[in-house]
């Protein structure tokens, strides 16, 4: 029987090494280890042997069986590896082909800019309030202390719906609405559309956007205005941005100022964007005129406030170096997607 086992083993080794398909190996397993397999038969025939012989032969048969199983598994694994390798080769892809995607849409540059400005002010505790695009002369001019004969009231400057109703020329009427409906403390910004009779060209648009801001509380000073807007400039244009406040005049603020920001393209050295001056005019601001506060029945002895307003198009165009305002309202998708 020993010889028989030896022969089986040798035969198995030979056949395995010659095997070319998984099926052959599988067939071998059945032939050797299956119910009627040769090793099984040997094991089954051991009943006839003496206990001593049975012990020796049992060990030999079992180790032969284990050895065959090991060889079979090895062969199976080798076949599997081979098949995998083949499959991987077949399935190889060109990873440089483009991805499949539903492209993200892009926000309009004006929205992007308003969002940036709003984010900065919201981080400083400003809420957002809005007002109508069609306004009354009262809210747009009278309540903002604009002189009755101010040229901006002319039909050549302002679009009118009726004698008393117009398209707002600034977002400042939202200040008036806020003051009329809310008691101090007030801390709001109001972004929105404005309209003026400007024929469209590279730098003019009859419709444009502003962001207005208003703070009213006890003890608000012009130093607070400077601090708030300086912090805004640093957040929007980078921590190196410097600000300069110049006296100016607006009917609805007193004292009034214009704020320049050190040129964020050249850092103040002078370049095309800042026209060599190193500074860029960004916004108008000032302490809210008592006449305006009075419209909201605010106690002007107790409360003071500041207000500011900036042109969104101007900031967007400066920041992104857009050289023609009309591009913003043409909505060429190739333009829009540049700001993705």
């Amino acid at each position: 029987m020993q010889n028989q086992l030896k022969a089986i083993m040798e035969e198995a080794r030979e056949q395995l090494s010659a095997a070319k398909a998984v099926a052959e190996v599988e067939e071998m397993r059945v032939r050797l280890l299956g119910k009627k397999g040769r090793i099984t038969e040997i094991l089954r025939g051991m009943g006839k042997l003496s206990p001593e012989e049975r012990k020796i032969m049992g060990q030999a048969a079992n180790s032969a069986r284990a050895e065959i199983e090991r060889l079979l598994d090895e062969k199976f694994a080798a076949f599997k590896d081979m098949q995998r390798a083949l499959k991987f080769k077949e399935e190889k892809i060109d990873v440089t082909e483009p991805g499949v995607v539903t492209p993200l849409g892009t926000k309009h540059l004006i929205s992007i800019t308003i969002d940036e400005i709003s984010r900065v002010f919201m981080s400083m505790g400003f809420s957002i309030s809005e007002g109508p695009e069609i306004e009354t002369v009262f809210h747009n001019f009278d309540a903002l202390n604009a002189p009755k004969n101010h040229p901006s009231r002319d039909m050549s400057d302002t679009f009118y719906i009726t004698e008393d109703v117009l398209l707002r020329t600034q977002t400042s009427p939202v200040q008036v609405r806020t003051l009329m409906k809310q008691d101090p403390p007030i801390k709001v910004i109001s972004p929105g559309r404005c309209f003026r009779c400007d024929t469209p060209d590279a730098t003019h648009s009859p419709m444009f956007h502003q962001v207005e801001g208003l703070v009213v509380d006890e003890g608000i000073s012009m130093a607070d205005l400077k601090g708030t807007l300086d912090a805004f400039a640093k957040q929007l244009f980078g921590s190196n941005a410097k600000t300069k406040f110049r006296p100016h005049h607006f009917p609805f603020t007193e004292p009034s100022a214009e704020m320049d920001v050190s040129c964020f393209k050249c850092g103040g050295k002078g370049c095309k964007v800042c026209k060599g001056s190193g500074w860029i005019e960004i916004l108008g601001c000032g302490m809210v005129h008592p006449n305006v506060l009075s419209v909201g029945h605010v106690d002007t002895e107790k409360y003071t406030g500041f207000a500011f307003g900036m042109g969104v198009e101007r900031i967007a165009m400066l920041k992104y170096e857009v050289d023609d305002i009309r591009l913003l309202y043409e909505n060429d998708v190739r333009f829009i997607q540049q700001f993705k």
Partner: protein, 810 residues
């Protein structure tokens, strides 16, 4: 306001460089636009005296001159100028000199022109005689006397002197931007007052003390009556005799030129000079033409015609203020004098008028006539009536100084109600609180006094009286600004307000952000279009004549028809944008706009129309269909928590394809419309492909939106999936079948999803095969096959009974 720095130095010292002057003036509140440097770009141009003029042998229009330029030999120059005579002093550009140009009849060269010697028709010419414009003067300021031809200098200068030095042509001219609250700064003295306060220098007033050498009195020659005191606060007149009309001396001409005005003759120049000095417009009438020795200030006859100095006949309205004599009008008050009373070469006696006219009246008349002048611009902004006497005296004094006439004694001054400045109480604490500083009352007092204000101070409270030219200083806060700008905005501290509120966005703002973000994520690009549109857009989208959207809000004064009405729908703008992109070869596009529309529902209690937020989303391109847009829309609405949608076929909206359009409902609320744009509409916008478009009432969405999220337990028990396919008539809609499935599937039906719609063999025409996947699940136990079959059979039965569905083998 053009301020020549050299002229300004007449009134106060400027001890700093021009750059520093400008910077500090800006910081004290006088913003400026530009600084121009006169006299730059002129090199090696000298004063020359014309020694001889001979005819050119070969050219009729040229002459050969010999010029003394201070050298040992005269310089020969050939010129085409016709206005020169022997003995004239002229600017001579020598060989190798540079002038700003432009050369006569040529365009201006950046950087100027170099003059070289050469031959003109065979005769050597060693330079050029210059005109004013060749030396860089703008046409509008070239003195009348030198407009044609060579600049003949006003007097003798040493030959060979550099022209820039001889005529003192070098001057920085600062263009200050004067804000409407500071009309007092539209004058040299006003700007000098600012400069004096800024730099702590002294303000000097001009000489106004007349010698009055004439024996006669002004009042014997003229009487003045103001019939409309509401339009004329003051009228001051003086009479000057022995007038000699001639050119002004160069120093005076130069001031006007630098300040952007053209010298004309001595009398006109003096009135202009004094107007620029004081900001008070002045006028001179030839007294010969003033009949009855009477000046009457009164409004015009309605429809009366009047010819102004510029020779234009104008028709007046009844509220236009006129200067009249006993018989006729001789000037439009504050705007322009009449041709009939103009100063002529032979004028010998003049009336100098300095008056104070009502700004609104001047503005209205000026606007109606379309006639804006230096004078009207100043009156419109408001002038101190107390300037009139000084200004008229100054004119007369200058006439004396220039030896151009004899000033008569006295002044006629009609001043019904004297204007005095009110004093204003200013509290130092208040000023400090508003500015965030701690200045003493004394420091504030010094600032006020530097601006020529009178201060009486009691402790920390001041009563401040501004000079009457400062009509902008009316309340305490106006004085706060004076302190702030003179102290320096840059010196104010930088602090942050104590925080008072957390930042909030309204529900609507948050929902807008949410909707936008969802759409952006779904590949939609945001567009922004004008709020005003063309009314034609509604025809283009075939909007029904009786639609609400036809009730347009119109602008009274639009820029043009294209922007003449407020939009009631966003669709035309969207299609216009698509049309533009399509024509630029963009083959596919997805876009949305979230913006206002304007509803013409005028209520008496609110003067303003309703503004309604609308959302328009659209797409075109090979990949797009009704269902891609529907999917995008549904996904966006899902994000807003609006999940039970109903799409009802709509065949009667002209904008859309009648077979591919639906109204969108959530429950019984109509949210909007979706569909394929009607081919005729797409064609109108030049779009040669299918366009899908939806427009939703965003305010409705905001009302319905529910963004609260709650956890629901994940299922514990397995589900059972059953697919069904059935043949139904073509007109049976998927939503109808779904409704039956849901109704019959009851609680065990977890979901139903369409997975196929098939038309074609072996299905008969007019029918279609529709296939759904149904998922059954119980929350509390594992479903058995029998349980599911029972419900499923009911579903199948329902479909059969309600819509005659024939089940197909799967």
């Amino acid at each position: 306001m053009l301020v020549p720095v050299k002229w300004l130095e007449e009134y106060t010292d400027v001890n700093v460089s021009v750059d520093e002057f400008c910077d500090r003036m800006i910081m004290s509140g006088s913003n400026l636009e530009t600084v121009e440097y006169f006299g730059q770009g002129i090199e090696n141009v000298v004063v020359g005296k014309i020694l001889s003029i001979e005819k050119h042998p070969d050219a009729d229009k040229l002459v050969i001159t010999q010029i003394d330029t201070g050298a040992s030999e005269p310089v020969q120059i050939v010129t085409g100028a016709a206005n020169i005579s022997v003995g004239d002093y002229v600017p001579v550009a020598l060989h190798g000199s540079r002038i700003p140009g432009p050369l006569h009849g040529q365009p201006k060269q950046p950087g100027g022109v170099t003059i070289k010697k050469g031959k003109l028709r065979g005769v050597e010419s060693n330079g050029m005689l210059c005109s004013c414009s060749e030396l860089g003067f703008e046409d509008k300021v070239v003195p009348v006397a030198h407009r044609d031809g060579i600049w003949i200098l006003d007097r003798e200068y040493p030959a060979g002197t550099d022209i820039v030095k001889a005529l003192e042509l070098e001057c920085a001219v600062v263009d200050f931007e004067i804000t409407p609250n500071r009309p007092d700064c539209l004058s040299m003295i006003g700007m000098a007052r600012e400069a004096a306060a800024t730099f702590g220098t002294e303000l000097r007033y001009p000489d106004t003390k007349c010698e009055e050498k004439g024996a006669e009195k002004t009042k014997d020659f003229i009487s003045v009556e103001i019939r409309k005191p509401e339009y004329c606060r003051r009228y001051v007149a003086r009479v000057v005799k022995d007038i000699k009309i001639e050119q002004s001396p160069w120093w005076l001409q130069k001031c006007l030129i630098f300040a952007g005005m053209r010298p004309i003759n001595n009398i006109v120049d003096i009135t202009n000079y004094v107007m620029l000095e004081y900001g008070q417009p002045l006028h001179a009438f030839d007294i010969r033409t003033v009949s009855g020795n009477q000046i009457i200030v009164d409004t015009a006859q309605e429809g009366e015609t009047f010819t102004t100095l510029d020779g234009t006949e104008r028709t007046m309205t009844g509220d236009a203020l006129m200067i009249k004599d006993a018989e006729k009008a001789i000037g439009i008050a504050g705007i322009m004098g009449g041709l009939n009373s103009e100063i002529e070469e032979d004028t010998t006696m003049i009336l100098v008028e300095g008056a104070n006219f009502n700004g609104d009246n001047v503005r209205a008349t000026s606007k109606r006539l379309g006639l804006r002048t230096e004078a009207s611009a100043r009156f419109e902004k408001g002038i101190d009536p107390n300037l009139t006497v000084q200004a008229v005296d100054r004119v007369c004094r200058l006439i004396e100084i220039l030896n151009a006439g004899t000033v008569l004694r006295g002044t006629v001054d009609v001043y019904p109600k004297e204007y005095r400045a009110e004093s204003v109480k200013v509290r130092a604490e208040r000023v400090n609180a508003m500015l965030g500083v701690e200045l003493s009352a004394k420091e504030m007092e010094e600032i006020f006094e530097s601006l020529e204000m009178k201060v009486s101070r009691l402790g920390n409270t001041m009563n401040v009286t501004p000079p009457t030219v400062r009509q902008d200083l009316l309340t305490e806060v106006d004085f706060v600004e004076e302190v702030a700008r003179m102290y320096g905005y840059d010196k104010l501290p930088v602090t942050l307000p104590r925080s008072n509120d957390e930042a909030k966005k309204s529900r609507k703002q948050r929902l807008r952000d949410m909707a936008k973000d969802a759409l952006l994520g779904l590949g939609m690009n945001e567009i922004q279009t004008y709020s005003f549109v063309s009314p034609k857009g509604l025809d283009n989208i075939r909007m029904a004549d009786d639609a609400e959207g036809r009730k347009l809000i119109k602008l009274i004064n639009p820029l043009g028809e294209d922007t003449s009405v407020m939009r009631t729908t966003l669709i035309p703008n969207m299609l216009e944008v698509f049309g533009r992109n399509y024509s630029r070869n963009t083959l596919a596009m997805r876009a949305f706009e979230l913006g206002n529309t304007f509803i013409n529902n005028h209520h008496l209690e609110d003067p303003l129309p309703e503004e309604k937020d609308m959302l328009c989303a659209a797409c075109y391109g090979e990949q797009e269909s009704f269902f891609t847009l529907k999917g995008i829309l549904s996904e966006m609405l899902y994000k807003l928590g609006i999940r039970e949608l109903c799409f009802c076929p709509e065949e009667n909206v002209g904008t859309f394809h009648p077979g591919r359009c639906a109204k969108i409902f959530a429950g019984d609320r109509e949210l909007g419309i979706i569909g394929e744009i009607h081919p005729d509409v797409a064609e109108k916008y030049g779009i040669g492909t299918r366009v899908l478009c939806t427009e939703l009432d965003f305010d409705q969405l905001c009302q319905l939106a529910d963004t609260e999220k709650l956890y629901s337990p994940l299922p514990k028990y397995p589900s059972i999936k059953r697919d069904i396919a059935m043949v139904v008539k073509e007109e049976i809609m998927v939503a109808q079948l779904e409704a039956v499935i849901k109704k019959e599937g009851k609680k065990l039906l977890e979901s139903v999803a369409l997975f196929d719609v098939y038309r074609g063999k072996p299905i008969l025409p007019g029918s279609k095969s529709v296939a759904f996947t149904l998922v059954y699940r119980a929350q509390d136990h594992t479903l058995t096959d029998e349980e599911v079959s029972k419900v499923h059979d009911r579903v199948l039965g329902g479909l059969r009974d309600e819509y005659g569905a024939q089940l197909r083998e799967m």
